[in-house]
């Protein structure tokens, strides 16, 4: 059973950049409505993408450094990392179907 993983500035390298499998990082914050709308969809996707993709969440409020490093200026921003490199940038709330389309394109 999949579950989203919380990452921080200090665990980002280990969990995201050094991961063998692709990782989607959801940059979010507690005050952001669209982030709250994305959250349950991401939880569902952890089930559907088990073994193909790790889904991680980074609270931008507590982890400025990583958010800044990847130029996050709007949340939710979801960045897909492959072998430590960002390969796709998804900004804003998307219905589940659209999000999956963009994810599938990124995972190719």
């Amino acid at each position: 059973m999949g579950k989203t993983v919380a990452v921080t500035d200090s665990t980002f390298e280990e969990i995201v950049l050094k991961a063998a499998d692709p990782v989607l990082v959801d940059f979010w914050a507690t005050w952001c409505r669209p982030c709250q709308m994305v959250a349950p969809i991401l939880e569902e996707l952890t089930q559907e993408y088990t073994g193909k993709l790790t889904i991680a969440k980074l609270d931008v409020d507590k982890n400025h450094e990583t958010a800044q490093k990847y130029h996050v200026m709007s949340i939710p921003t979801m960045i897909v990392f492959k072998q430590g490199k960002p390969v796709a940038n998804i900004v804003g709330f998307k219905p589940k179907d659209k999000l999956k389309q963009e994810l599938d394109a990124a995972l190719g």
Binding site: R33, S74, G92, P95
Partner: protein
């Protein structure tokens, strides 16, 4: 999945959900179809303070979830799907989605409205890199920076007031020389030292390299062009009705909203409309919910007749 219903409700905002509560409680076999997430535009409201019954206010998302729970308790079925087409001419209406065709004898159209984009060069390219549609989400990224808000209505002013708590300077760019926002709101913005108004002006382009760096502006009276250096631009120029699916099928007013009578009937037998999509709607959560209840009751009468 079942394909035929007595009533199908299109849209899961307050209008659709209220219609769902009434129709399910009246034991109509009802299906609500929503493309993204129940709650409608109201989910974007941090705090709804004018919906009766919540003296301390309630979050838009929470209100949507409560309405859904209430409707499902009475047996409303829901489907997450994008409607791709409608056949309204027959007594049995067809609702097409990517996955299947569904039918019902009555239909309540509660598709609401959608955000209008600026539609200028640079807008799409810089989404997430300085272009934003949600100040509550993104204001914190513009700490001590200069930003712009485009628009002059209540939502634009509310965006600007929120931004002024973070940004060094907030420019409100409005194409007229006065605000559409209510005086209470407008005065608050006018007395905020961090807010600056740029009147009679539209945005021609959003430019930058990695991130937004400047806006190209045009004075609508003189045609004079200028540049405004900003790190962020928040677009809040209003909504338009979501009527693509019903154009040419039900009567619309000059602004594209569905015309109904006081029973929410569109003139097409068995086709009703409710909420923001309706002509002359005051576009409030309470009025949308009221429309939904009315539409459900008259849909029930239509089905029973």
């Amino acid at each position: 999945m079942e394909k035929d219903y007595q009533l199908i409700i299109l849209g899961g905002g307050p209008a659709g959900l209220a219609a769902g509560i009434y129709s399910a409680r009246n034991k109509l076999d009802s299906l609500l179809i929503e493309k993204a997430m129940v709650g409608g535009l109201a989910v974007y409201a941090d705090l709804i303070e004018n919906y009766p019954g919540f003296p301390d206010g309630i979050g838009g998302l929470e209100l949507g979830e409560l309405m859904l729970r209430q409707a499902e308790k009475f047996g409303l079925k829901t489907l997450t799907a994008e409607v791709t087409g409608l056949d309204l001419a027959d007594s049995r209406k067809t609702v097409r989605t990517r996955e299947s065709d569904l039918t019902a004898r009555a239909l309540i159209i509660a598709l609401g409205s959608e955000r209008i984009n600026l539609d200028v060069p640079g807008e799409k390219e810089f989404v997430g890199r300085g272009v934003s549609y949600c100040a509550t989400c993104d204001a914190a990224f513009f700490q001590e920076k200069e930003v712009a808000v485009v628009g002059g209505g209540n939502s634009a002013i509310s965006e600007a007031l929120h931004l002024a708590k973070f940004a060094a300077k907030v420019n409100i760019i409005h194409r007229r020389n006065q605000l559409r926002a209510t005086p209470l709101f407008a005065d608050k913005a006018k007395s905020d030292p961090r807010i600056n108004f740029i009147w009679n002006t539209t945005v021609d382009a959003i430019e930058g390299n990695d991130n937004v760096e400047k806006l190209r502006l045009v004075d609508v009276l003189t045609g004079q062009k200028s540049t405004l250096p900003v790190s962020g631009v928040f677009v809040s120029i209003g909504q338009r009705p979501n009527t693509v699916l019903v154009k040419g099928k039900v009567p619309l007013d000059a602004n594209g909203y569905i015309i109904t009578n006081e029973k929410m009937e569109t003139g097409l037998p068995g086709v009703l409309a409710a909420g923001d999509i309706r002509s002359n709607s005051i576009r409030q959560t309470i009025s949308a919910a009221g429309d939904g209840a009315t539409a459900a009751i008259y849909a029930d009468r239509y089905l029973g007749a």
